[in-house]
Symmetry: C2
Subunit: 437 residues, 2 copies
């Protein structure tokens, strides 16, 4: 892949919410950090936060100030959940090695995890990150189909390896070879747009390059495209399959019960993908991710080349991931996400009645996009940046997404309570009131 | 990269030591494992081991049998080292999040780590795996040089992403585009071969394709090529630099004091690479890795595209990595590796006098290659496979490497004691005696 020479066209997904050297809020720690970390590192907020402790839906900074976390989906069952912490500590003291020795833990976890997936999906491959999972999944899809093209959405983010960077146009550097983009829904500018029609057009654009699709690689809640729960996905999938391709459901964002209505994002659309990739929330902070598929789908790749991942599915990571499933079940977090998410959306819908800058509220469970607009109806890009920084001043942490960075990404740890939802709505009410005044 | 259609030409690095379905030693656990893990998964040994506990240089199986570990370099400061375990448990209970908040731990660790590197190298980027580190390093080198070619050794292994799989010919599926291979030393067939001459020829082969080298990507102990401590590397590096390329020192194998004579493999050759990648031993089992370079080397890549790694340098991983440096220092493990490695080599040299099947003993510190030959002088491939399986029966765990799989890879956790070395030599003496009888 050659991305050189393509200047960054946007600063969307990674930079919209970033402190940059030269901005205010310099500190001795920031200065030290800039001197030793690579120039790609960014910090959130105009006044960066030094977070020193977390618990449940709360984070604390170095001065002891408490923040409500409405952003972090990695700590999905809550920051430092004692059951997960205990599992990590217990396993770290016993054994951490690789998967070329037999281990009951990884087998039992794979069985438990696969039981949560639709029937055809019967094998797991563990990696360290969602990036590694998607990098592998694309190769599996290409080997399985004998085709090369990959279809992603215009603001997709699927990871940081060379291969999947080229499938992450939200990074602002275009896409790699053999990749085409299709538009996400746009409730403001194109409320009747069909996603499936875009995918069919993408298949035609691939054909014009002499390519057929290996895969539609899709986060079915379209997180970086601005959170779009409604999608004519079944029709899009049918078009991809008719052209000989498969579906890779990137569940790094919607997976593990976050959307409330289903354990997995694809299940919200009654679609059974050939390949599923998992990541961020899987180990509540431990670096574990996975590719799940039918054995027959994995076979052509496995027959063609060896694959081994040293830290993938190491015992400590598996112990954490298993404990995450315990907590999800015991605390009923999927049903909780559905119930609290519904209440939160009702509160936000009420705010939309009184605040003209709220253009749209959408989502499912505890994954909500709140889109903002300027008074002239244009995307509320600057407004959204102000809102997240003012919310941060008020002790509420979130970020933005979408093509214009105009959509608040409300994506808290799943134990988010009704009181947390009310606090978020109150603070947002206050911030929008100040900004609209 | 299109590796499809190229049949596996070897089963070297991943398969030489692998149990395969259909072999004996079936068990209920193996059957369950085969039913849920992807078909790429392999198991070590003709009789796979179920390892349930580790401590120091010892592993224990499900029946309570103890094994001397002469293979695992991930648990570099010893399995379940209490100082590392305690650091993981303590930090997991406090906070695990990402690097877009300020954090004193990652800054202090980066400062401490960079102080162990030669002066020009002044920035760190943390990833989850050596694969991710090498994948990033190659892109950094290409952006910094404006050149595309990559030179690797004929049996190199640099990771499992799409990009670096194409730079890992030991996988047996050839190399990707813009990659050329150069031969490692061959003490048996070509004892006077110059590595630098091979690199110069590689630069010429790139030129014939219209390419100039971005990087020589090199594990300077040449682990998967069979462990070759002696190399005219400075001369090779001069040739790469004269052609406008840089050196990426892949320290996943030799780094963190293993070779005894230096903290880093490149330092054994008085070479200062532009880019250093770290992996396996860095966190003693926690998934942490890094790319280290001068800011000016990282800058062109960082200016061209955003890079963020969610789990890279997460607090628990940093806590483990910092504890690893504590242990390396407090226990003087580099000096220990040098001293015990010297004694072990002396013991193995003694064995070479009495066992005609030992062709060569070479290495540095606690990274030793013991090359075997058949009676007719041909590579001891089948012999090496027998040796590691018989050693396993005697409670000693190791594996093989090299183009012919004829070299025992002796690479224990660093606290390997003089008694451990004597036990290894004794068991090897016994196994070779049985096989030569």
């Amino acid at each position: 892949m050659n991305l050189r020479g393509t200047p960054p066209s946007s600063t969307r997904i990674l930079d919209a919410n970033a402190w940059r050297p030269g901005q205010d809020a310099e500190s001795e720690l920031i200065a030290r950090r800039v001197r030793v970390l690579g120039p790609s590192y960014r910090l959130f907020y105009r006044q960066p936060l030094e977070i020193v402790r977390g618990h449940g839906t709360r984070l604390w900074d170095a001065e002891g100030r408490e923040y409500l976390d409405v952003y972090n989906n990695v700590a999905s069952v809550g920051h430092t959940h004692p059951h997960v912490v205990e599992a990590i500590a217990r396993q770290a003291a016993v054994l951490t090695t690789h998967t070329r020795y037999l281990d009951r833990g990884i087998v039992a976890y794979a069985e438990r995890l696969l039981a949560l997936l639709p029937d055809p999906i019967d094998r797991a491959v563990f990696t360290c990150s969602g990036s590694e999972a998607n990098d592998l999944a694309v190769r599996v899809a290409r080997a399985a189909t004998g085709q090369r093209g990959v279809i992603v959405t215009e603001e997709a983010y699927h990871g940081n390896t060379a291969l999947v960077t080229g499938m992450s146009p939200s990074l602002g550097v275009g896409v790699g070879p053999e990749v085409v983009t299709v538009p996400a829904p746009d409730p403001m500018a194109a409320p009747h747009r069909s996603f499936a029609a875009g995918v069919r057009a993408g298949i035609e654009r691939l054909a014009a390059q002499g390519l057929r699709p290996a895969a539609l690689l899709l986060d079915s809640i379209l997180s970086s495209d601005g959170v779009h729960p409604a999608l004519d996905l079944a029709e899009a999938v049918a078009a991809v399959r008719a052209a000989g391709g498969v579906v890779i459901a990137d569940e790094v964002q919607p997976g593990f019960g976050r959307t409330g209505s289903a354990m997995w994002g694809f299940a919200r659309h009654d679609v059974v993908p050939e390949i599923v990739t998992l990541g961020k929330p899987m180990g509540n902070g431990m670096p574990i991710a996975a590719v799940l598929a039918q054995a027959a789908v994995l076979e052509p790749f496995s027959a063609g080349e060896p694959y081994f991942n040293t830290f993938g599915g190491t015992q400590v990571s598996i112990a954490a991931a298993d404990a995450v499933l315990d907590v999800l079940e015991r605390e009923g977090l999927q049903a909780h996400a559905a119930a609290v998410g519904r209440e939160l959306r009702a509160l936000l819908d009420e705010l939309a009645v009184v605040h003209r800058s709220i253009a749209d509220v959408r989502g499912d469970g505890l994954f909500i996009g709140l889109q903002l607009r300027e008074d002239d109806g244009s995307p509320g890009t600057a407004l959204a940046a102000d809102v997240i920084n003012l919310l941060r001043q008020r002790g509420v942490l979130t970020s933005v997404c979408g093509a214009h960075g105009d959509t608040l990404k409300l994506r808290p740890p799943l134990p988010f309570s009704r009181a947390d939802a009310a606090r978020l709505a109150d603070e947002l009410d206050g911030v929008l009131g100040d900004l609209e005044a």
